[in-house]
C-alpha cells in the first residue's frame, strides 16, 4: 500500500507539480491550500507524512505544527525559504521532524520522507522493554512511560532516544545522531539534533533545566544516563 503524504502549500502551481512528482515517486498525495484546511484534513484522515510550508495565508506553519503535535506524532517536514533564518529552529521547536529548503526537488523530498518513515518502522522491530532510571521504554510499542504515565514522544524523538540507548552510555556525537536518525551526512544541520534533544528533555526529564537522563557532553555530543 502506498504511503500517504499531506501537502500543505498555498501556491497552487507548486502544489500541483509536487503532487505530480510525489505521485510519480509512488506516494498518495492529499492537498491543502491553507493551514486550517491542512489541520482539519490531517485530523480527519490520518496520513504518514505531512509536508508543511511555513508561509501560509491564514494559520501559519508554526501554528499548524503546534496544533498537529497536540494530537499526533505524525512525521512533519517543513518547507522553509532560508536555512539560516530563525524559521528553522522555530519550526523544529514547534514540533517539525525535519526541514527542506526551496527550491525543493521531489527526489530529495522523497529521500527525506523515506528516512523518516524507515526509522519509524525500525523501532517496531525490537520487541523489548528497557528501564532507564525512572523511564520505562517499550521498544515494541514505541512508547516511554514514567510512573505509569505515557510520555507523548514523537516517532523521531523516540528514535533519538533509542540511538542514545543503543550507545550503552557512551557519548553520541551530533554527526552520529544526524546520520543514524535523519540519514544526513557530515554536513547535516546539527541544529536539528539540538532542538530534538531539547524537545526530548521536556518530555523525559523531571527538570529539563538540569537533565539527568539526556546528558550533554560539552563539545562532544550527548549520552543517556540512568
Amino acid at each position: 500500500m502506498s504511503r500517504k503524504v499531506l501537502l500543505v502549500e498555498d501556491d497552487q502551481r507548486v502544489r500541483r507539480v509536487l503532487r505530480l512528482a510525489l505521485q510519480d515517486e509512488g506516494y498518495q498525495v492529499l492537498e491543502a491550500a491553507t493551514g486550517c484546511v491542512g489541520f482539519e484534513q490531517a485530523r480527519a484522515d490520518p496520513v504518514d507524512v505531512v509536508l508543511l510550508d511555513l508561509m501560509l495565508p491564514d494559520l501559519d506553519g508554526f501554528e499548524v505544527c503546534r496544533q498537529l503535535r497536540r494530537h499526533s506524532s505524525v512525521p512533519i517536514i517543513m518547507v522553509t525559504a532560508r536555512t539560516d533564518s530563525h524559521d528553522v529552529v522555530a519550526g523544529l521547536e514547534a514540533g517539525a521532524d525535519d526541514y527542506v529548503t526551496k527550491p525543493l526537488v521531489a527526489k530529495e523530498l522523497s529521500a527525506r520522507i523515506r528516512a523518516l518513515l524507515r526509522r519509524s518502522e525500525a523501532s517496531a522491530a525490537h520487541p523489548h522493554h528497557v528501564v532507564v532510571g525512572d523511564l520505562d521504554i517499550s521498544l515494541d510499542a514505541g512508547t516511554v512511560t514514567r510512573d505509569g504515565q505515557v510520555l507523548g514522544l514523537t516517532r523521531t524523538e523516540f528514535r533519538l532516544l533509542l540511538e542514545l540507548l543503543n550507545a550503552d552510555g557512551q557519548v553520541c556525537s551530533r554527526e552520529h545522531l544526524l546520520e543514524r536518525v535523519w540519514e544526513y551526512g557530515y554536513f547535516g544541520d546539527s541544529r536539528i539534533v539540538d532542538v530534538h534533544i531539547r524537545r526530548l528533555r521536556k518530555k523525559v526529564e523531571r527538570d529539563p533545566a538540569t537533565p539527568r537522563h539526556v546528558v550533554t557532553a560539552r563539545g562532544l555530543g550527548y549520552r543517556l544516563a540512568g
Binding site: R13, P103, L104, Y186
Partner: protein, 461 residues
C-alpha cells in the same frame, strides 16, 4: 580608482608644505640679513670716515701752524703731529715727500687722490697696502697749493667686524630657515591630520568596510564639510551595496517558486525519457542542463545575499578542521585529495561548518572546473591558526587578476570568457571573511594556482 598623482612627483603634500615653509623662511631671513649687513657696514664705514677726516683736518691745521713757524726740519715737525690709530702720515712739502712710516711710502697713495688734494681739495679713498685695507685721507696744507698732508687709517678691525657680522647674519638666516622647516612640518602634520583620517577611512571603505565614517564634530567648517561629504558618500555607497545585495536576494527568493515548478516538471519528463520522441531527447537534455545551472546560480545568489542577515557567532560550533576539509573536499572531488599535516590533525576551531564546507567545496570545484583539476588540498597549522591550501593544475591566475577573481562575477581567469566563474569565489571570500580569515591566490611552485585560506584561532587540538 587609484591615483598616482602625488607619487609621480616623488614628493607628498606634507613634504611640499614643509619645504615651502623652509624656503619662505630662508628667503625672508636672507633678505633681512643682506639689508642689515649693507646698512650696518655703510653706517660703520661712514662713522670711521667722518672721524678720520676730522682727525686728519685737525692734524693738518696743527702741521700748518708748525710749518709756518719752523721750516728747517720738516720731518721732525711731521713726527710731532699726534696720532693714535693712524698707521702713518705722509707729507709732500715743496715737492719733497716726508713720511712717519717705513711700510707705506708715497707710492701707496693713488695718483688721482694726490692730485685732487694738491689741487686744494680734501679727499679720502679706500686703498690696499701690502694686502691690508686702509683709508687714505688727504688735506692741503700751507699757502702752496702743491703741499698736502695724508694720513692712512687701518680698516683691518672694521673688516673683521664686518666679517663677524656677516657670519652672524648667515647663521641667523640658516637657523631661521631650519626653524621654518620644523614649523612647516608641524603645521602640515596638524593641518593634514584630517587628510590622514580621510585616507584611513577611504582605505577601509575600499577594503570592504562600508561602515567606516569620519568624525564630523570639528570646529573647522571646511573640514566639517569634507567629513560630512565623505560620510554622505560612504553612506550612499553602503545603502547602494546593501540594496544591490537585497535586490539579488529578493529576486532569487522570488525565483524559488517557479524554479521548484520547473525542476519538478523536468524531473517528471526525464523520468519518462524512454517514452520521448527521439528528436525531443536532445532539447530536453539541454533544457535540463541549463535548468540545473539556473538552480545553482539562484542558490549561490541566495547564499551570497543572506550573509548580512546572520549575526556573527550564532552558527559557530567547534569542529576539527582536518575532518571538515576532508569530508567536503573529497566529496566534491569524488576522490581522496586531502592531506592533513601531523600538526593539524587535532586542530579545532569555532566555525560555521556549513559556510566552511561551501568554502572548501567551491575552491575544489573551481580547481576542477577552471583550474585543470584539483591536485591536492592540504591543511596545516600556521602561527595564527589553520591554513587550507587548494592547488590546481591550470595555468594559474595572473597577478593583476588575483584580487578581482574574488569579486562577484569577477572573471579573472584565462581572459575571462569562461562560464560559471560567477559567484563561487565571491562566496568563498565572504564566508572566509565571516570567519575573520583571509583568502588569497598565489602561483603554485611548478605552475598552476594555489588558493590559501587562513583562519585565525588557537588551533590547538
Amino acid at each position: 580608482m587609484r591615483s598616482a598623482g602625488g607619487r609621480r612627483w616623488g614628493i607628498g603634500l606634507r613634504d611640499r608644505v614643509t619645504l615651502t615653509f623652509g624656503l619662505l623662511a630662508l628667503v625672508l631671513s636672507g633678505l633681512l640679513a643682506v639689508v642689515v649687513g649693507v646698512l650696518v657696514s655703510h653706517y660703520l664705514l661712514d662713522q670711521r670716515q667722518t672721524s678720520a677726516v676730522y682727525e686728519t683736518s685737525l692734524n693738518a691745521s696743527i702741521l700748518r701752524q708748525a710749518l709756518a713757524q719752523d721750516r728747517s726740519d720738516v720731518a721732525d715737525v711731521l713726527s710731532g703731529v699726534p696720532g693714535n690709530d693712524r698707521t702713518s702720515s705722509l707729507l709732500t712739502f715743496d715737492g719733497a715727500w716726508y713720511t712717519t712710516a717705513v711700510t707705506a711710502g708715497p707710492g701707496a697713495l693713488p695718483a688721482e687722490l694726490v692730485d685732487l688734494v694738491r689741487a686744494g681739495r680734501p679727499a679720502s679713498q679706500r686703498i690696499e697696502v701690502g694686502g691690508a685695507p686702509f683709508l687714505a685721507v688727504g688735506m692741503p696744507v700751507g699757502e702752496h697749493s702743491r703741499d698736502a698732508y695724508f694720513e692712512l687709517f687701518s680698516l683691518a678691525q672694521l673688516n673683521s667686524t664686518f666679517h663677524v657680522l656677516s657670519v652672524t647674519l648667515v647663521v641667523a638666516a640658516v637657523v631661521t630657515a631650519a626653524v621654518g622647516l620644523v614649523v612647516g612640518r608641524f603645521a602640515s602634520r596638524r593641518a593634514l591630520r584630517p587628510l590622514t583620517d580621510l585616507t584611513i577611512a577611504a582605505a577601509a571603505v575600499a577594503g570592504g568596510d562600508l561602515h567606516a565614517r569620519l568624525v564630523t564634530d570639528r570646529h573647522d567648517p571646511d573640514l566639517g564639510r569634507l567629513a560630512a561629504s565623505f560620510n554622505r558618500t560612504a553612506a550612499a555607497l553602503e545603502r547602494r551595496v546593501q540594496a544591490d545585495i537585497r535586490f539579488a536576494g529578493d529576486v532569487s527568493h522570488e525565483l524559488r517558486t517557479p524554479l521548484t515548478t520547473m525542476l519538478n516538471s523536468m524531473a517528471l519528463v526525464q523520468n519518462r525519457r524512454a517514452e520521448l520522441p527521439p528528436d525531443l531527447v536532445e532539447p530536453i537534455d539541454l533544457l535540463a542542463d541549463d535548468l540545473d545551472r539556473f538552480r545553482r546560480l539562484v542558490i549561490d545568489l541566495l547564499e551570497i545575499s543572506r550573509d548580512a542577515d546572520t549575526a556573527d557567532g550564532v552558527d559557530r560550533e567547534t569542529a576539527n578542521i582536518g575532518d571538515l576539509v576532508r569530508h567536503a573536499a573529497d566529496a566534491v572531488a569524488g576522490r581522496p585529495v586531502t592531506t592533513v599535516d601531523d600538526d593539524a590533525v587535532r586542530a579545532t576551531l569555532m566555525v560555521d561548518k556549513r559556510r566552511l564546507e561551501r568554502v572548501v567545496a567551491n575552491l575544489v570545484a573551481n580547481a576542477d572546473t577552471h583550474g585543470g583539476g584539483c591536485i591536492g588540498v592540504r591543511v596545516h597549522r600556521t602561527q595564527t591558526g589553520v591554513a587550507i591550501v587548494v592547488d590546481d593544475a591550470g595555468p594559474g591566475v595572473a597577478p593583476q587578476h588575483r584580487e578581482r577573481i574574488f569579486e562577484r562575477f569577477g572573471r579573472g581567469r584565462n581572459g575571462g570568457d569562461e562560464r560559471g566563474v560567477g559567484l563561487g569565489l565571491a562566496i568563498v571570500e565572504r564566508h572566509v571573511r565571516w570567519h575573520h580569515g583571509t583568502v588569497t591566490v598565489v602561483g603554485r611552485p611548478g605552475g598552476g594556482a594555489r588558493f590559501v585560506v587562513e583562519l585565525p584561532g588557537p588551533g590547538a587540538g
